[in-house]
């Protein structure tokens, strides 16, 4: 469900590399060729791609947690099966992306340990709470919708293994989005209580959805290595605009209202007012909207969001509870009688 648009890829300057190899590398990138795992690549590119794929993998398996909490509470057999399969898909995406990362030189165990000790990060949006069933609908509609938009552009990148993984993930994400759209539509066509639940969840998730694509770009974003090397192909702000152009009219059509909200430290809405900037600009053809609270974004990304501690604690518990199993399967004799 996640994308890596807001991972901060700060790669070293490539001046230490052999100029001829570097020029050939850049030529391949500019010609639209794919870079494969055994090809020569600048050390900074390898490091940056690893950071990006690892962050994305982390986001998938942490992203499984807020929705996973609702599997046991899904309100029909069909939704229960669909949600289990959906969360399973996210774990599968994590598995594929950890494999891409492993090939770039870091062991899976090291990545899982760095995740639970806070050394590496995951996508910010999973630090928000999902207190109602309707939040699951909004996560699948808005967050998965945002992820598809982002990942479609990542599938135009230059690193072959990551690009192929994105293509496969995007096919599955399309199902998640459809499932989310169906859930939102069902709630908005339901009883007043269901419509209220949907609106409240939308109010909680609209801000994180706008933040999904990362903070506003630096003016020279297109000249910096992540875009010059086609690790990403579209700026954060352009992706955000594509998202709002698609989702503002869709939300209004469904009868949802777009609010500017304030939240408490638990991520719950404490006050809201209509976003009076919402309008289609006839000249540009784009929708206008109130920017999210970027102070909140940086506060949450530094670890002080509503659910950072809870998400990491659960991942840590999973890692520790599974340690003896991994030892038995990966290191155990497997065929010999146990010691007396």
């Amino acid at each position: 469900m996640s994308g890596s648009a807001n991972v901060g890829v700060h790669v070293d300057h490539e001046s230490k590399e052999d100029p001829a190899l570097l020029a050939e590398f850049q030529r391949k990138i500019d010609a639209g060729e794919l870079i494969e795992v055994d090809d020569w690549m600048p050390a900074a590119y390898r490091k940056g791609m690893l950071m990006m794929a690892e962050h994305h993998a982390n986001s998938e398996i942490v992203g499984a947690l807020p929705e996973g909490e609702w599997i046991t509470r899904a309100p029909s057999l069909r939704r229960k099966l669909a949600l289990t399969a959906k969360v399973q898909d996210e774990v599968g995406h994590g598995q594929m992306l950890y494999r891409v990362s492993q090939d770039l030189g870091k062991s899976r165990d090291a990545m899982l340990r760095d995740l639970i000790t806070g050394k590496t990060k995951y996508h910010n949006c999973f630090n928000y709470p999902a207190p109602q069933w309707a939040d699951i609908a909004m996560i699948q509609w808005l967050i998965d919708g945002a992820a598809i938009m982002n990942q479609k552009t990542l599938a135009d990148g230059a690193y072959g293994p990551y690009v192929r993984t994105m293509r496969r993930i995007n096919m599955e994400e399309a199902f998640h989005f459809k499932s989310g759209e169906d859930m939102v539509l069902t709630l908005m066509s339901g009883t007043k209580r269901q419509r209220d639940m949907a609106q409240e969840a939308f109010d909680r998730w609209w801000g994180p959805s706008l933040m999904f694509f990362g903070p506003p770009d630096k003016p020279n974003a297109r000249q910096l290595p992540p875009m010059r090397w086609r690790m990403k192909t579209v700026t954060n702000d352009d992706l955000r605009q594509r998202f709002v152009d698609r989702f503002i009219p869709a939300a209004l059509d469904l009868g949802l209202k777009i609010h500017v909200v304030t939240k408490d430290e638990h991520g719950f809405v404490t006050s809201k007012k209509p976003d009076d900037k919402i309008a289609l600009n006839k000249d540009t053809g784009h929708w206008e909207f109130t920017s999210p609270d970027w102070d909140e974004f940086f506060r949450v990304i530094r670890g002080n969001g509503p659910c950072n501690a809870k998400r990491l604690a659960l991942r840590r518990l999973s890692y520790e509870q599974g340690r003896w199993v991994r030892q038995a399967i990966l290191n155990g004799s497997g065929s010999l009688p146990p010691a007396a």
Partner: protein
């Protein structure tokens, strides 16, 4: 839909519900592991198995509902605890312990393979047609869980110890899967549930003990459940009601609404 003799409808539905309820809660308990499994690859596999179990339950509810008029969701979500017919072994929590989760699956999967095989020979064609399809999937469940029991039983001293503890805790509950249902004999006599529980029990015990032997594990099982409990009669452990409260939390907000 072929006709069932009127007097056999209630016991037949009761039998389908026992099978569906076992599957539903086994799948429900196992789905709690989705996203939290000990190895990513196994997390994915385990989640598929949980989905199979819940899908099998759904298909069996649909069949039961075609006879008594209720929808699968009404049967899954709309009953009181004493109206469920599941066995105690699917009700108890695994406390997020992989050995317990595997031990539970082990006994249930072997039991379900034999039960579904008997269903696949039923004179009621909608059941035999459905069960033949489910048996093929159930066979995969058995292969998967046997492999885990053997690998953990013979893996490391710690994995052996943990598996043995889980077998000691879960094993005594396993024979309750065989608690007789009300009015089962007329169903057997009519060929709707062919075979015998005694033969099935012997077969189940022999298979289970064979695999446990390979895994260097032992189990203590006693036939006959305590008088104060019997899931097949609607007398459940203290764990079923809170599990139902959780499962039905959203459904009960608006039981008539579409979700």
């Amino acid at each position: 839909m072929p006709d069932l003799p009127e007097h056999l409808k209630k016991p037949f539905v009761n039998m389908l519900l026992a099978a569906a309820d076992d599957k539903l809660f086994l799948g429900h308990r196992n789905s709690e592991w989705t996203g939290l499994g000990p190895i990513l690859e196994e997390d994915i596999a385990f989640s598929s198995l949980a989905q199979d179990d819940m899908a099998h339950a759904s298909a069996l509810y649909e069949l039961a509902g075609s006879i008594d008029g209720r929808t699968p969701d009404e049967l899954a979500f709309g009953r009181t605890a004493e109206q469920y017919r599941c066995a105690a072994i699917v009700e108890v929590p695994d406390e997020f312990d992989w050995a317990t989760a595997i031990a539970r699956r082990f006994f249930c999967n072997h039991f379900d393979l034999l039960r579904l095989t008997r269903f696949s020979q039923s004179a009621y064609k909608p059941l035999s047609d459905l069960a033949r399809r489910l048996v093929a999937e159930q066979q995969v469940h058995v292969t998967h869980v046997d492999d885990w029991v053997i690998r953990l039983g013979t893996g490391t001293p710690e994995s052996h110890k943990r598996m043995q503890q889980a077998m000691d805790a879960i094993g005594p509950l396993a024979p309750e899967l065989f608690e007789p249902l009300d009015d089962l004999k007329p169903l057997v006599d009519a060929g709707l549930y062919p075979g015998s529980d005694f033969t099935m029990y012997d077969e189940w015990t022999a298979t289970v003990e064979h695999v446990l032997g390979q895994a260097h594990l032992t189990v203590q099982m006693e036939v006959g459940s305590p008088d104060d409990r019997g899931g097949r009669r609607g007398v459940h452990t203290q764990y079923l009601a809170p599990m139902l409260d959780e499962m039905c939390e959203v459904y009960r907000l608006e039981p008539k609404a579409a979700w």
